[in-house]
C-alpha cells in the first residue's frame, strides 16, 4: 500500500514538471493560460494527495486555493485582460524554442543531481518531491528570463510558485503552509491587478537604447 501511495505522489509531482515543460513551448497567450490552469489542477491533486497521505487536513485548504484561485479565477481574469487590453496574442520569446527546451532539460537534470545527492537522509517521498519542486522552480525562472511580455512573465512566476507550494506540502508536517499559499495568492492577485490597473506596457525590452536612457533620465 505504501508503494502505491509513493507511486501516485511521484506521478503527480512528475506531472507538474511535465506541465512546466508544456508551458515552455506554448506560443499563443490563450494556450499558455490554459496550460497554466492545467498545471494548477495537477498541483491541487498533488497537494490533495499529500494531505491524504499525511493526514494533514490543513493541506486540503491549500489544494482548494489551488483549484479555485489558480485554476479558475486567475486564468479567467488574465483571459479577460488579454482581450480587453488588446495585448499581442503571441508569446514573444527572447530565446528560440530548441535552446530553451535543452536548457530546461539541463535544469531538471541539475536539480535531480543536487537534491537527490543532498537529501540522502530524508524520507524518500519528500526527497523525490523536493527534487521535482526544484525543477519546477528552475523551469519557472527560465520562463521568466526567456519571455519578454508581462503576461507570460507573470505566468512564469506563478508556475515557479506552484513548485514552492509542492515543496512546502511535501515537507511533512511543515507549519504555515496555508498561510504561505494565501500570502502568495495575495501577491499574485496584486500582480494581476497591477498589470490591469496600471496598463503596464506589454513589452519590457526595447532595442532603442537611446530611448531607454532617456526614460531613466540617464542621457547626458
Amino acid at each position: 500500500m505504501d508503494r502505491l501511495y509513493f507511486d501516485i505522489a511521484h506521478l503527480l509531482a512528475g506531472g507538474l514538471v511535465l506541465t512546466s515543460f508544456m508551458l515552455l513551448y506554448q506560443d499563443r497567450l490563450y494556450a499558455l493560460l490554459n496550460t497554466y490552469a492545467l498545471q494548477a489542477l495537477v498541483l491541487a491533486l498533488a497537494v490533495g494527495w499529500q494531505a491524504h497521505i499525511q493526514h494533514a487536513a490543513h493541506l486540503y485548504i491549500t489544494a482548494a486555493i489551488a483549484v479555485i484561485f489558480k485554476a479558475l479565477v486567475i486564468p479567467f481574469a488574465l483571459h479577460r485582460m488579454v482581450a480587453q487590453l488588446g495585448v499581442h496574442r503571441e508569446v514573444e520569446s527572447v530565446v528560440s524554442l530548441v535552446p530553451t527546451m535543452l536548457a530546461g532539460i539541463a535544469l531538471v537534470a541539475l536539480s535531480m543531481v543536487v537534491m537527490l545527492r543532498v537529501t540522502e537522509g530524508a524520507d524518500p517521498l519528500a526527497r523525490e518531491d523536493l527534487a521535482f519542486a526544484l525543477s519546477v522552480i528552475l523551469l519557472g525562472l527560465l520562463m521568466m528570463v526567456t519571455r519578454s511580455n508581462a503576461v507570460s512573465q507573470v505566468v512564469g512566476f506563478m508556475s515557479l510558485e506552484n513548485g514552492l507550494i509542492l515543496a512546502a506540502a511535501a515537507a511533512k508536517g511543515m507549519p504555515l503552509v496555508v498561510e504561505i499559499s494565501v500570502a502568495f495568492s495575495v501577491l499574485i492577485a496584486l500582480i494581476v491587478i497591477g498589470i490591469f490597473l496600471f496598463r503596464i506596457r506589454e513589452r519590457f525590452d526595447t532595442v532603442d537604447l537611446q530611448a531607454l536612457d532617456d526614460f531613466r533620465g540617464e542621457r547626458r
Binding site: 543532498v118 537529501t119 525562472l141 512566476f157 515537507a171 497591477g194 503596464i200 531613466r216 533620465g217 540617464e218
Partner: protein
C-alpha cells in the same frame, strides 16, 4: 509611558498596523501626516524601552541582543522619515504630482511597511519572518509606483518581478531548513522556531543546510541589493517618492541583511556545514566593485545615491562574511552609520529636487551659494558617506580594512580599490552640485531641517567619540555573531 514600557512588544508590532487602518480612513492629509509622525514616534519610544525591559521569550516573539539594534535603528529612522515626509508631501500636493486620494493610500502603506519590518525583525519563526518580508516588499512596490509615470511603473514592475523571485528563492531555502530540522526537533512549529533551531542546529544534516543557505543567501541577498541581483534597486530609489527612497536604503535593506545574518549564525553553529563567510565575502566585494564603477556615469541624483547604497551594503556583507570580533563590530557600526547618513542624504536630495524641479545632476549647481543649509547638509552627508573623517563611517571603514588586511590581504586590496573608486566618483559629482555658480531656481526651500540634523549630528560625533556603553554593547553583539 508605563503602558508603553509594559507592552512594548505589542506596541512595536500592532501600533503601526492600527495606525495604518486609521490612516486609510482619514481624508485630511494634514491630520494624517501628523498622526503618521505621532504614531512613528510612539513606536520609537516603545522600541527604546525594549532596551530596559526585555519581554519574555515566546513561541513567536524574540528580542535578543542582535535584533534590538535593528529595531531601535529602524524605528528611529522611520520616525524621522515620517517627519520629513510631512513636509515633502505638502510640496508634492502643491506641485500637483500627487493627489489627495493617493496620500491616504501612501500614509496607510507607510505604517503597514513599518509594522511588517518590525514583525520581520522581532519574529522568532523563520516562516513568519519570510511572510513579513514579503509584505514589506509588496508595500514598497506600490509606493514606488505611486507617481504613475511610465518610468515609475517600469521601476515598480522590475522591483516586483525581481523582488518576487528573491522571496521565492528565500522560501525554498526556508523549506529546506525545515527539512533539515525535522528529523532532529520533530514536526510542526518547532521546526521553524528560531530559538529551537539554533539550540539543535549542530545535529542537523549539513548537506541540506548548505543547499538551504545558498538559496537563502541569493533570495534575501536580492532584497539586500547585492550584485548580480541588484537591478531593481536603482530604479526603485529613483522613481518613487524620496521618503520611500530613504526608507528603502536606510531600513528595508537592513531588514533583509538581518535575515541573512540569522541564517549565517545557523550555519556557523553546525560543525559539518560549509563556512558561510566566503560566499558572503564574494557577493559583498562583487557588489562593491560593480557599484563603485557604476557611480561614474550616473546622470540622476537619486540613482547615484542608490548605487552608493549597493556599494555600502556590499561593504557591510563583506565585513560580516569575514567575521571575527573586530569585523563584526565594524560591520554593525557601518550599518548603523550608513542608515543614518544615507537617509539624511536622501532628505537633502529630495528637497533639492523639489526646489530645482529636476533630478538631473547636470542641472544642479552651486547649492551652497543658493541654499546654504541644504547645500552644506548634502556636502556633510557625502563627506560622511565616502568615509572621510570626522564621519562615523571613517572609523568603521578603517576597521573593516584593517581586519581585511589581517585576515585576507589580497581581498583587502580589492576592497580598498573599490572604496577609492567610489570615493572619487562621489566627490567628483558633489563638487559640481555643491559649488560654482548657482543654476536653476533659487527660491527658498520650505522644509523641516530637524530630521537631517538628527541624523547627521550622531554620525559626525561618532567619528570622534563613541559612547563607551554603545561600544560595549556592539562588542557584545559582535562576539555573539562569531
Amino acid at each position: 509611558m508605563t503602558f508603553l514600557a509594559d507592552h512594548n512588544v505589542q506596541v512595536v508590532l500592532f501600533l503601526p498596523l492600527a495606525t495604518a487602518v486609521a490612516l486609510a480612513t482619514i481624508a485630511s492629509y494634514r491630520l494624517s501626516a501628523r498622526l503618521n509622525v505621532a504614531s512613528a514616534f510612539l513606536t520609537f519610544l516603545a522600541a527604546l524601552s525594549l532596551l530596559a525591559f526585555r519581554p519574555n521569550l515566546g513561541r513567536y516573539i524574540l528580542v535578543d541582543d542582535l535584533n534590538i539594534v535593528f529595531i531601535v535603528l529602524n524605528t528611529f529612522v522611520a520616525f524621522t522619515t515620517s517627519a520629513y515626509s510631512a513636509s515633502y508631501i505638502a510640496h508634492e500636493l502643491g506641485s500637483h504630482r500627487l493627489k489627495r486620494s493617493h496620500l491616504r493610500f501612501y500614509h496607510a502603506m507607510y505604517q503597514l511597511l513599518l509594522g511588517a519590518m518590525n514583525l520581520a525583525l522581532i519574529a522568532n519563526n523563520i516562516g513568519l519572518m519570510w511572510v513579513a518580508i514579503e509584505v514589506a516588499t509588496l508595500t514598497t512596490v506600490v509606493m514606488v509606483g505611486i507617481y504613475r509615470t511610465p518610468a515609475a511603473l517600469e521601476a515598480a514592475w522590475k522591483y516586483f518581478i525581481l523582488g518576487s523571485v528573491g522571496i521565492a528563492l528565500a522560501l525554498f531555502g526556508t523549506i529546506l531548513i525545515y527539512m533539515a530540522a525535522r528529523p532532529v526537533v520533530g514536526e510542526g512549529m518547532r521546526g521553524m522556531t528560531w530559538t529551537v533551531l539554533i539550540a539543535d542546529v549542530a545535529r542537523f544534516d549539513p548537506a541540506l543546510l548548505n543547499l538551504a543557505f545558498v538559496f537563502l543567501m541569493l533570495g534575501y541577498g536580492t532584497k539586500v541589493g547585492l550584485a548580480p541581483l541588484h537591478a531593481w534597486l536603482p530604479d526603485a530609489h529613483a522613481e518613487g517618492p524620496t521618503p520611500i527612497s530613504a526608507v528603502l536604503s536606510g531600513l528595508l535593506l537592513n531588514v533583509a541583511l538581518y535575515a541573512v545574518l540569522r541564517f549565517k549564525l545557523l550555519m556557523a553553529a553546525n560543525p559539518g556545514a560549509i563556512a558561510p563567510g566566503p560566499l558572503m565575502m564574494t557577493l559583498g566585494l562583487l557588489s562593491l566593485a560593480f557599484a563603485a564603477f557604476m557611480l561614474y556615469r550616473r546622470g540622476d541624483i537619486k540613482r547615484l545615491f542608490a548605487y552608493s547604497s549597493i556599494e555600502h551594503m556590499g561593504v557591510i556583507v563583506f565585513a560580516f562574511g569575514m567575521g571575527g570580533a573586530l569585523a563584526n563590530f565594524a560591520g554593525l557600526l557601518h550599518m548603523a552609520m550608513h542608515s543614518l547618513t544615507k537617509s539624511a542624504i536622501f532628505f537633502a536630495v529630495g528637497q533639492v529636487a523639489q526646489v530645482k524641479g529636476t533630478q538631473q545632476i547636470a542641472d544642479i549647481r552651486g547649492l551652497t551659494a543658493s541654499h546654504p543649509f541644504l547645500g552644506w547638509a548634502l556636502v556633510l552627508g557625502v563627506v560622511a558617506i565616502v568615509g572621510m573623517p570626522p564621519g562615523g563611517m571613517f572609523m568603521s571603514e578603517f576597521l573593516i580594512v584593517t581586519s581585511a588586511v589581517a585576515q585576507a590581504p589580497a581581498l583587502a586590496a580589492v576592497l580598498v580599490f573599490g572604496l577609492a573608486v567610489a570615493f572619487a566618483a562621489l566627490i567628483l559629482r558633489l563638487h559640481g552640485m555643491a559649488f560654482g555658480e548657482p543654476q536653476g531656481s533659487t527660491q527658498p526651500a520650505n522644509a523641516s531641517y530637524l530630521p537631517m540634523v538628527l541624523h547627521l549630528a550622531p554620525v559626525l560625533v561618532a567619528g570622534v567619540f563613541l559612547p563607551p556603553p554603545l561600544v560595549a554593547w556592539f562588542q557584545h553583539i559582535a562576539a555573539l555573531l562569531h
